[in-house]
Amino acid sequence: MIVPYTHVMLLGAIVFLMGMICTLTRRNLIMIIVGLEIMLNAAAIVFVGAGLQFQQIEGQVMALFIVAVAAAEVSVGLAMVVCIYRQRHSIDPQCIENSPRVPDPKAASEPLTLNP
């Protein structure tokens, strides 16, 4: 007899929330990927907890798949970050938007990306 299922869910929710905050607020491509990892981790926690709650081994299988998908995602994502860094010497997400290869007539009038 361990903790109620709700507590596991709450833990997953909090961790997911932190990953989301990280993803949404850090201006750094690597930190965005870190946030993604935390969110995936939270999902894995919830899956395993649910597997225990409903006595299904399915949940653990899903957690394993999440780990595998995360591995794939991280490898490609980090490779892209390296690419971007080589091209623009920056890992600010803004640098992709301000790409000289993609002319953007309305770049200055974007309300959410205004920065001094």
């Binding site: 993803t23 949404l24 997400p93 938007e97 953007d104 974007e110 990306t113």
Partner: protein, 625 residues
């Protein structure tokens, strides 16, 4: 009046007369363009075959008692059939002989005239096309076939008028001729559409015999529309100014165009549908009015022109006006007879003018006169013969046909037509002999006989032979007047020929002589200053010389109505309405697109934020609702 099928031999001859020039045309354009002599030979041979066929036909059917017709279905669509065929009656037989004869003579003449031209082969190819188109038009038994060949005549005249396409003025003249006749053809098109849709038939015989379902108003409307086509083709008022410009073509082309083919096609159609037209008095009156106005206007224009070919061109319009007047007055045989004689003497006049122009390299009659044009005896004698015929002097053919026309006009209800016609006779004689006297009696004789000194090719024997043949025809044709008129009018109960108006018959030659005398007083006698009475009154001379400002009127209409009115309106509509609406639509699309793009174009994190918010928002909604 019953139709009979065409006997097989006649059918064969008729088809041969029409199709052989087409074969020559195809052969020349495909194989013989680079071989001028072979091309010319082919074309002349085809024209000769055509002529022989036509003469055989005429001889065979000289005593015909009913028109012959046979046709085959070319294509059918539902109940509507397009037939091509052959209609043989006196009019088509006579016209076929005229066309093939003039075409043959003109081609023989061209052998010499066009020698050395770069487009020799092409020229003869177009000539053959022209002969085919005209023969098909003449033989057509229904309006649709008439229309098809009518357009072909237009095309081939366009090709020939603009034959020297390196000359800007020639291409312009070709375009002008084509477009102005097209204006008339549009009316013709509507006309036969009315005939087809409301009348239910395009067969010339059914139309002529009144076996159509048109009310009298519809008859008038369709006849007027068809007459519009005739106005365009025969260069009548108000579509007359293309004809003088068509002089840009080679002179033999002008001869062909003005005597037997292009412009004659209009009068021929009027004669062809004469019984149909005479079902409506309004149309007949309109015909007379248009003919009269054209006749007088162009006669005045001819009085002041210095260009030989232009004088003959104006006189062509004038004589066509006479023909249409005669037909409008009911003088069927008179009109057609004048068409026949006119074909002969006008071809003669043009070809003589061609010899002079060829020798002197100029169209200006004063220059030719000073350069010794009168020393070219054969040409001058032939030209004088043609001029006498044009003026209507016994015993030349023009005398007889003019007499017949005056008889028809005298029979008209209103004497105004007769007086106009007599005035036309006077003017015709005056301007014709103005030209002749100017060339014959130049005021300042140029030193030295340089008539052949321009490096141009001297006129060949073939050309002179043609001139002599035509002169003989001009001299002799008049004596067949009675037989011709009897032959031509056997199937035309509507015709009102045969009236004798003694006064008119006397007045016409008297006025012609008076016209010649007036010309002699001003141009011929040695004390004269060679300035016509029209030129002495400045404004009148200018008015005549600038063709009564008709071209200005067209320019004004084109400019104001077409360019500034319709085109400008269309442009404004396009700019304001269409483009405005389009700009509005595209503007809205762009705005919507920007709004939609705003969700996608942001940095990755705001996008992610939107996605996450939507996802959780949806979850929330699903849970609560």
């Amino acid at each position: 009046m019953l139709l009979q099928p065409v006997p097989e031999i006649s059918l064969f001859l008729a088809w041969a007369a029409a199709v052989v020039p087409l074969a020559a045309f195809g052969l020349i354009l495909v194989f013989l363009r680079g071989l001028p002599r072979a091309a010319a030979g082919t074309s002349v041979a085809a024209a000769a075959v055509s002529l022989i066929c036509a003469v055989c036909l005429l001889v065979r059917h000289l005593g015909m008692d009913a028109p012959l017709q046979s046709s085959v279905t070319w294509m059918a669509s539902g109940d509507f059939e397009i037939a091509v065929g052959v209609l043989l009656d006196p009019l088509s037989l006579v016209m076929l002989v005229i066309v093939t004869c003039i075409a043959f003579l003109v081609q023989v003449y061209s052998l010499g005239y066009m020698a050395g031209d770069a487009g020799y082969g092409r020229y003869f190819g177009f000539m053959s096309l022209f002969a085919w188109a005209m023969a098909g038009l003449v033989l057509a038994p229904n309006i649709l076939q008439v229309f098809i060949f009518w357009e072909l005549v237009g095309v081939s005249s366009y090709l020939l008028i603009g034959f020297w396409y390196e000359k800007f003025s020639a291409t312009r003249a070709g375009k002008k001729a084509f477009i102005m006749t097209r204006a008339g053809d549009t009316l013709f098109f509507w006309g036969w559409l009315i005939l087809l849709v409301w009348g239910g038939t395009l067969q010339i015989f059914e139309l002529n015999s009144g076996a159509h379902g048109l009310s009298s108003a519809m008859t008038t409307a369709s006849a007027l529309l068809v007459f519009g086509g005739i106005i365009g083709k025969s260069a009548q008022f108000p579509l007359m100014t293309w004809l003088p410009d068509a002089m840009e073509g080679p002179t033999p082309v002008s001869a062909l165009l003005h005597s037997a083919t292009m412009v004659a096609a209009g009068v021929f159609l009027l004669g062809r549908l004469f019984p149909f037209f005479s079902q409506s008095d309004t149309v007949m009156t309109v015909c007379m009015a248009v003919g009269t106005v054209s006749m007088l206007l162009s006669a005045t224009m001819a009085m002041v022109s210095r260009d030989i070919k232009q004088v003959w061109a104006y006189s062509t319009i004038s004589q066509l006006g006479f023909m249409i007047m005669a037909l409008g007055a009911g003088g069927y045989a008179a009109g057609i007879f004048h068409l026949t004689t006119h074909a002969g003497f006008k071809a003669l006049l043009f070809l003589c003018a061609g010899v002079l122009i060829h020798a002197h390299d100029t169209n200006d009659m004063f220059v030719i006169g000073r350069a010794g044009g009168r020393r070219m005896k054969t040409a001058m004698v032939c030209m004088t013969a043609g001029a006498l015929a044009l003026a209507g002097i016994w015993p030349f053919s023009g005398f007889f046909s003019k007499e017949a026309i005056m008889g028809a006009l005298a029979a008209a209800d209103n004497p105004v037509w007769l007086f106009c016609g007599l005035a036309g006779v006077f003017l015709t004689a005056y301007y014709t002999f103005r030209l002749i006297f100017i060339i014959l009696f130049p005021r300042t004789q140029a030193a030295g006989a340089n008539s052949h000194g321009h490096g141009s090719v001297p006129a060949s024997a073939a050309m002179y032979a043609v001139l002599v043949i035509l002169a003989v025809i001009t001299l002799a044709a008049g004596f067949f007047a009675q037989g011709f008129q009897d032959f031509i009018s056997i199937h035309s109960p509507h015709a009102k020929d045969g009236h004798t108006a003694f006064l008119a018959h006397i007045a016409s030659p008297v006025l012609a002589v008076a016209g010649i005398f007036a010309a002699w007083m001003q141009f011929g006698r040695s004390a004269s200053d060679q300035v016509g009475f029209a030129e002495k009154i400045g404004p009148v001379g200018r008015l005549f010389a600038s063709r009564w400002y008709l071209d200005h009127v067209y320019a004004w209409i084109t400019d104001r109505v077409l360019d500034r009115g319709i085109a400008e309106g269309a442009r404004r509509t396009e700019n304001r309405v269409i483009e405005g609406a389009l700009a509005m639509i595209t503007g809205w699309v762009v705005i919507c697109g920007r709004m939609a793009a705003g969700w996608h174009r942001a940095m990755i994190q705001p996008k992610l934020m939107v996605a996450v918010a939507v996802m959780f928002g949806l979850t929330l909604i699903l849970l609560v609702v």
